[in-house]
Symmetry: C2
Subunit: 114 residues, 2 copies
């Protein structure tokens, strides 16, 4: 196995971008649904507050992972979807998922049961 494949700089950046309590679940839903409204995300993610969800979405938007678009009506409609940069995370995220299911089964099952 060639361990020279990764260096810590890029890894640090990637992990930094993915850090945040709700990032995984946000990405998960947007990978499965392609465009969701704010309230839709809010209701589907248990127990996150609007403020925190908004902060996460803003960060991810500024980092170019998400694209935010609003329909200018009243009441407003705002949609979030993955950008190409966000979609490109798929292989890495699924590799992490595979690893967790293979090597951290207990923690995963514990989390599922909650």
């Amino acid at each position: 196995m060639d361990y020279n494949q990764f260096k810590h700089c890029g890894l640090n950046v990637a992990l930094g971008i993915l850090s945040g309590k709700w990032k995984a679940i946000i990405l998960y839903h947007l990978f499965h649904q392609e465009s969701m409204r704010f309230t839709e995300l809010w209701r589907i993610i248990p127990k996150v507050t609007k403020k925190v969800l908004l902060e996460h979405l803003k960060q991810m938007e500024h980092q170019g992972l998400l694209i935010r678009s609003e329909v200018n009506t009243f009441p407003p409609e705002v949609y979030y979807k993955l950008s190409d940069k966000g979609k490109a995370l798929a292989p890495a995220l699924s590799a992490l998922e595979v690893w967790a299911n293979e090597y951290a089964r207990e923690e995963v099952d514990l989390l599922k049961s909650k």
Copy 2:
């Protein structure tokens, strides 16, 4: 691309395990060197304090990513190396690295220059 490959539970667990300011760089060095002494790690990682480095190493040991072994002499010698569980992270970590270099070049270069 099949986005059903990953679910958020495993992803959450994996990201949780990898969260911590110095995790990336610790893993990086241990992937490249197979067994390092505490002080060796401490000197090679810029600006981390002993306490924090120790906390990170302890966590990673408890999560089964690292194996700690001590030679009972005075002064003590303690070695850290990757376990199989830790080594199995390689594909996922290098996928993250690849993504960062491809899609987050600016941040990576910025980090490198520091």
